[in-house]
């Protein structure tokens, strides 16, 4: 009697150790923690946990938005002048890039749910390319020209043609909020790179097990959400 390999998952059409069958992909056989009633419970709990973390991230950015609101109310002329020095076209391009990356990461979750491993990898790669493009535009076309011009935050400010004595406050708000956001883009990209590596090497994600894809995608969507609010506040309001 052929013994059935206990590592065979419910999804595999044939037992794991039958001849001609490769070792099942990792997503099929990953055991869930036994303190959970079912793998579904584990997934829902992970998702809720990620949502709780996202609420803390929203509060972090709310602090930055509050600083923006307060300083804007106190020094409207400085903020008007400073906002005019930003190029809204780079902001628009960055917004479009992030929206597309949000779309592809949502599609990658869908691909994991449907066991479309190849498209899962493609979508993750496109998302990471978008992240890299966002960071490149931000640093090369926005930060570096401004820094060399002297438009720097706080006491580092040295722009000779400042229109308002409080313009360094505007630049502080600009650099702080976009830099903290860029840091979150980097963190999200690292998470998604980890997902990509695991998906590419051991097929870690599939219909039964895609928690990591889901939670990393949620983090990425939050990054996009924050930028959706940052872009009009910094670039469009005058």
């Amino acid at each position: 009697m052929t013994s059935i390999d206990p590592r065979a998952g419910i999804d595999s059409p044939t037992p794991g150790n039958s001849p001609g069958n490769k070792r099942p992909p990792f997503w099929q056989i990953r055991p869930h923690g036994h303190h959970w009633k079912s793998i579904d419970d584990e997934f829902e709990a992970s998702k809720f946990g990620m949502w709780l973390f996202l609420t803390t991230e929203v509060l972090l950015f709310a602090g930055l938005f509050c600083a923006y609101a307060v300083l804007r109310m106190m020094y409207p002329d400085a903020f008007r002048a400073g906002s005019g020095l930003l190029d809204w076209r780079w902001g628009l391009l960055n917004t479009v890039i992030l929206l597309i990356s949000s779309f592809t990461v949502a599609m990658s979750v869908r691909c994991a749910q449907l066991n479309q491993q190849r498209w899962l990898i493609y979508n993750l790669v496109i998302t990471l390319v978008c992240a890299a493009a966002f960071l490149f535009i931000k640093v090369y076309f926005e930060y570096i020209p401004k820094w060399t011009d002297g438009k720097r935050p706080g006491s580092l400010f040295s722009y000779p043609f400042a229109a308002d004595p409080h313009e360094h406050l505007w630049w502080s708000v600009y650099y702080c909020s976009t830099a903290v956001h860029a840091l979150h883009v980097v963190i999200g990209a690292c998470l998604l790179t980890w997902v990509l590596v695991r998906a590419a090497t051991i097929k870690a994600y599939g219909p039964r097990e895609y928690t990591m894809v889901e939670t990393s995608a949620l983090y990425w969507h939050l990054v996009d959400l924050v930028w959706i609010f940052l872009f009009p506040l910094l670039y469009l309001i005058h």
């Binding site: 990953r30 998702k47 509060l59 602090g63 009009p232 469009l236």
Partner: protein
Amino acid sequence: MAHQHDHADPHAHPGTGNEAHGGHHHYIIPWQKNVLVLAILLFFTFLTVALAQGEKWAQASFDIGVIPTWVNVTIVMSIAAIKGTLVAMYFMQLRYSNPLNTFAMLFCLFGVALFLGFTMLDLGNRDRVYSWRSGEIVPGGSLPTRVETTVNDDGTVQRNHISLADPMYIVARDEALNRQADDKAAHRAANGLYAFDKDVEAFNKYAEKKKKSHGTYHEDQTASTPDRTRPRHGPTPGIFDDEPAGTDAAKKDSDKDHGSDH
């Protein structure tokens, strides 16, 4: 096939959910819906940029003056809120998952509303009661200032912050004097006496006339009567003078030799 025991997941019940998707009943969003949401998001992005630029253009070409900032802010933030809601509901799948997730995020937004709302209520109304509170915050105290730029002979530029308001202790002293004047006026009105302000010009004219004609004006002036308190000179210059401190009349007042007190 339907009751294969999943050793990796011994608690999974057979027959629940969609077997083809591994026993989970998670919503799988159709890709067309994702594309539609992306299209709507991109539309709103271009709309918001177009509105912002259009507003600038309308201000420049039509003669409608300055469009108030709150119009711009409201439109732009409303569109941003719509975009954010779409991302949260469809991309983050709040619509198709446990309502507890939605509740967590809504509660967080309530917290943000409290945070921002109270801060802006405070900041926005700082100048309602005390006008000197509405100025910039500098180390050592807040005073509204005007910036005066002077160019020195050697070409260096100097920016002087000239205070537009008195320091706090002078404001407080003036308010105390005003309260004192109000009390005096109320007392006089209650007792049917003349109002102090109406009297002072007439009295000063009379005093000048008397000064020219008699030498005893000082005595008259320094003695108080039940009717009115004569000006006294004490350690705080101007506190009991008729004229406000620092004016020429007050200087003349203090220069007079007032007999008995000094």
